[in-house]
């Protein structure tokens, strides 16, 4: 869904005033592009699935073990994110934590308390590739409201901010922006990409593709869709079960107690990351597990570029 054009134009002050009414955060991407006076979080994931969270406590008392579940907590939060980051929540995280019975109560509570706004993008950064994976810089799909800075104010779709109808010059500005984005949009990956990649599992180019990757967790931890987590106990006589992010890049991710490791080689782990996002997840849920925000490309210590990797594998399969 693209923007409908049925929104209103509010002044920047009115928009900011409305945002300031609640506990408002912006994602780092939004913070970098638009200087807004709100604290930033890395991605919506950091709000919905914190990196460190205690699920239950256990302790030894009165000569017996006790377990106390820690109830889910969530305070209302308003988060302004880029459209791709909104898509990461609605397409990927929601599907895993809510669409897959049983629902995760911790995620569900926080999600219920989250007002997620999309702030449209007016240009593609060098790392952006949302249009390659089915997204759009002006998409308001899944967001509770949509905003876009215009030269004369802020274009707003949704409830809460009052403004005036679009003037014809603003309509033209919007149309010009859409046309401009259309021209510069990176073209989508082939429709059958998940199938091609699945076929290419045994291809011999993986070694070459994975070479250079340090196998660190920077890409997965800073990714808005990577949801894999670890449950690790803290403490011995009293402590808690802690949920913390984990990464398929780490050798211990799949290490069995028997010391068998199905993905012991760095190449296998890189392959798992690409295939999980671009093949396994789409085959299971019908949407890419990547939203094209480009954070992994921008933050990779060795400039390992997932776009090139997918292109190479697709061309290998073809």
């Amino acid at each position: 869904m693209r923007l409908s054009g049925n929104g209103v134009v509010a002044t920047r002050e009115a928009f900011l005033e409305w945002l300031s009414r609640g506990r408002t955060f912006v994602t780092e991407t939004v913070a970098r592009r638009f200087r807004l006076p709100f604290p930033s979080v890395p991605t919506p994931k950091a709000v919905l699935l914190p990196q460190h969270e205690a699920l239950y406590r256990f302790f030894w008392a009165r000569r017996t073990w006790n377990v106390h579940p820690l109830p889910p907590e969530g305070t209302p939060i308003l988060l302004l994110a880029a459209p791709c980051e909104v898509k990461a929540v609605t397409d990927v995280l929601d599907a895993v934590f809510l669409g897959n019975a049983p629902q995760d109560p911790y995620y569900a509570t926080r999600r219920k308390n989250l007002i997620l706004g999309a702030l449209g993008c007016t240009f593609f950064e060098a790392t952006c590739f949302c249009t390659r994976v089915g997204g759009h810089p002006l998409s308001r799909e899944g967001a509770d409201f949509f905003a876009l800075p215009l030269s004369s104010g802020v274009y707003f779709e949704g409830e809460g901010v009052s403004g005036r109808p679009l003037a014809s010059s603003e309509k033209e500005e919007l149309e010009a922006l859409v046309a401009d984005l259309e021209k510069t949009a990176p073209p989508p990956f082939p429709e059958k990409t998940p199938e091609y990649l699945y076929e290419a599992f045994g291809c011999d180019i993986w070694e070459d593709i994975a070479w250079g990757c340090l196998n660190c967790g920077a890409c997965t931890f800073l990714c808005p869709t990577c949801f894999c987590f670890d449950l690790a106990l803290e403490g011995r006589l009293r402590g808690a079960m802690i949920r913390t992010w984990d990464s398929c890049m780490f050798p211990k991710f799949t290490l069995h107690a028997s010391s068998h490791n199905p993905r012991s080689h760095p190449m296998q782990r890189v392959r798992q990351r690409i295939l999980h996002k671009f093949s396994y997840h789409p085959l299971r849920k019908g949407v890419f597990g990547c939203v094209g925000c480009g954070r992994c490309v921008a933050l990779c210590p060795v400039n390992w570029d997932i776009r090139e990797a997918v292109e190479r594998v697709v061309s290998c399969a073809l």
């Binding site: 406590r57 803290e234 009293r238």
Partner: protein, 144 residues
Amino acid sequence: MNSPWEPKIVAFLCHWCSYAGADLAGVSRIQYPPNIRVVRVPCSGSVDPLYILKALREGADGVLVSGCHPGDCHYLSGNYFARRKFLVLHKLLDLLGLRDRVHFSWVSASEGQRFADVVKAVTEVVRSLGPNPLREGESTCDTP
């Protein structure tokens, strides 16, 4: 529950000297603060800096590592090697602003009084520093 805060100090004592020194302090009825929790190690050279870090991580307010005097090591040179490691750790913790959390000493088996004095001094220093700053934000594991 609301008893005043008392520092907890983990002491790694070498089996041949400092542990025997602590023993002597005990049998000689020399009083020293009950704040230390002793871990007996074969030699101060066997104390990996990670043990010290782990003790701080687990909530110790201070750490004391004690071994034989230079030249007196039961294994001839263990404490000389230890001294090099400890110097680096000491300087690094100094940079971090945590210098006085971790103390090193040489105490021989015959120095019961000296052991008590060292523990007294270390306890006083750590007490003046207050609780371990690494424990901030720690709520899940401490209170049942």
